[in-house]
Amino acid sequence: MTVMLHLKGLKKTYSGKPALRGLNLEVRENEILALLGPTGAGKSSTLLATAGLVKLDAGRVHLAGTDVTGAEPASRDLAIVFEGFNLLPVLNVRDNIAFALRSPAFREDEAEIARRVGHTAELLRISHLLDRDVETLSGGERQRVAIARALVRRPRMFLLDEPLSALDLKLREGLRAELRHIYRQQHSTMLYATHDYHGAIAIAHRIAVIDGGVIHQTGTIDEIFARPADMTVGRLIGSPSMAFLRGHVTEGAVSIEGSPQKISPESFGRVEAAGGELVVGAWPEDIELVSPEAEGANAGTVYAVDNRGLDRAVQVNCAAGSFRKVIPRELDLRQDDRVGFRLPPGKIFLFDAATGRRISQLEDGRG
């Protein structure tokens, strides 16, 4: 398992606004790593810094073991597919794809260029578009040309930014399909920035959760589910994401606001001493919905119902907060229905409300 990209302590501030605050990240060779975070988390800054398109205030960028922090972007042998990297309107598709190969830095001979362009175009199923003008292409076709342009150089690594706007939902799915396709053929290393949890899990091997200019956690989805590092991770992972309920410690046990259920500390495993407010977290899949009269049930009300086609999701509001959960179609809950829910011991986490960090560690190795 070799490390392809190693970002150490990246710091960058844009006119007083810090974008990266000491970011550390490792991307392994031949893996697709999803950089998952909300807008403003620092995803674009991370990609730009890796590519060398932005000057860092501090920190080092190592590619395949070499420190490239001061190096020119063109020399880093990276391929960038960003939303803003538009195709050159004056060239047709073929010339767009071949553009990089004709640049002074790479200079290949024409026969080789034609071969590589042809091969890449076939890979992305755009061979029939090679002589077309860029303006005449649809959004999806343009995306594939942009990927082809990046791919044809056979770079060490890809940096990708998922298209942001809602209008590109089909484009996003198309992009992911293309990347899976490419990966199957070439096992490329990719760093894929997205704000969409579904986007991340549809394509990546590991996920790095980013927010506020730092990485909160990196790991496979199973690792993250078992040991979420903090509330930010809980908020960004899962669909629906983690349920957070306000809690406090009474008589040595943890209880959530407005509920009689007492959770013995042993359920959480080892708990660090908590200074102030606590937050109880649980993945919605682990929360049990029961009748409000059931034993040990916490009281809640259905705030709204979301029809997802094959199943439904409900938002349950209670005194300690609210959470969303997917329910099977057979369970016919309506808005304003009263429900009960139970938090299963051994599957819940305790967080410090002030820092957001997880302060519980389960004994069975999950902690």
Binding site: L167, L169, R184, I201, A202, I203, A304
Partner: protein, 362 residues
Amino acid sequence: MAEIELRKLTIEFGAFKAVDDVSLTVKNGEFVVYLGPSGCGKTTTLRCIAGLTRATSGDVLFDGQRVNDLTASQRNIAMVFQFVSLYPHMTIRENIVFPLKARGVPSAEITRKLDWVTGIFKLGDELRRYPSALPPGARQKVALARALIRDPAVLLLDEPLSAIDEQFREEMRWELGHLQRQLGVTTIYVTHDQREAMSLADRIVLMNNGNIVQVSTPNDMFFEPVDIFAGQFIGSPSMNLIELAPVVGGLRLGTSNAVLTPQNHAVPEWAVASRRPLRLGIRPHNVHLVDSDIPGFDIPVDSVFGIGREKFFTFTIADTICQGVDQRSRPDGTSGKVRFDPAGLLFFDAETGRRVTGETVL
């Protein structure tokens, strides 16, 4: 609260027919979503209901009264636009009370209504601020507050969530759903996002090229699409579509060796006996990888992807890349048999694209 009826509504712009002979009734208090790709006529229809676009022919009726000749301000409607339409030079407070002030409502009443709306939307702090200081999601919240403060008979929304960040969008969707059910105002909502439509609607009106394709509840739209367009537009990831070739006793999947029969997949007899060429539609969630002792097909699996609790896998049949869902955790690259859930088989006429069922004469 009002009932809205569209009777044979046609809207033309020069030679271009944006809306073609559309008829529909929206019941009192119903949440109806107009869904379709861009250019299908959904926004034009909405603007016509609002009074911002004139109908070329046909009628728009509110509670049985023809309103074609009334201007937007004369119809008792409220509208939330896609791109933010808050008055940039007014505070949030002034924005929200504008509709009441413009109609000369007395200030005691205005204060009362403002308090009510502020409570619902939890706007306390933002009232003093200007729209430019708020993120797009919050601005649309304000636009909604401004719309609802008048207690309108009809609430019209034109892709209100499209220009908002993903995370806000989901929050707003939940809030909107909750709010509409609570207030019970007749709502017409336009979007191209099938997720929004499924989530919010009592009924979905699916449009394409100016025509209504299907009007159903979200459930019916999902499980009983009327044609290929409807089947593929709703649901994400999209429905798989596979050519079928009739063979003795079954239907062969494209040019592969896999044959669907009444025995292995409970294929209905009328489908096997069909004289018209058919295509199979099946949603990825109804395609599984099973162990060898269960009836299925030995189709090579191209790739297994996704790292969530659901893994998607792809396979190719007759040059079509199809997707299925594998819910068991298994290491990458192992094969298995592909099985279609018999309950999820949808048959479509290969030429017309319309769905065929046992009742359809073949």
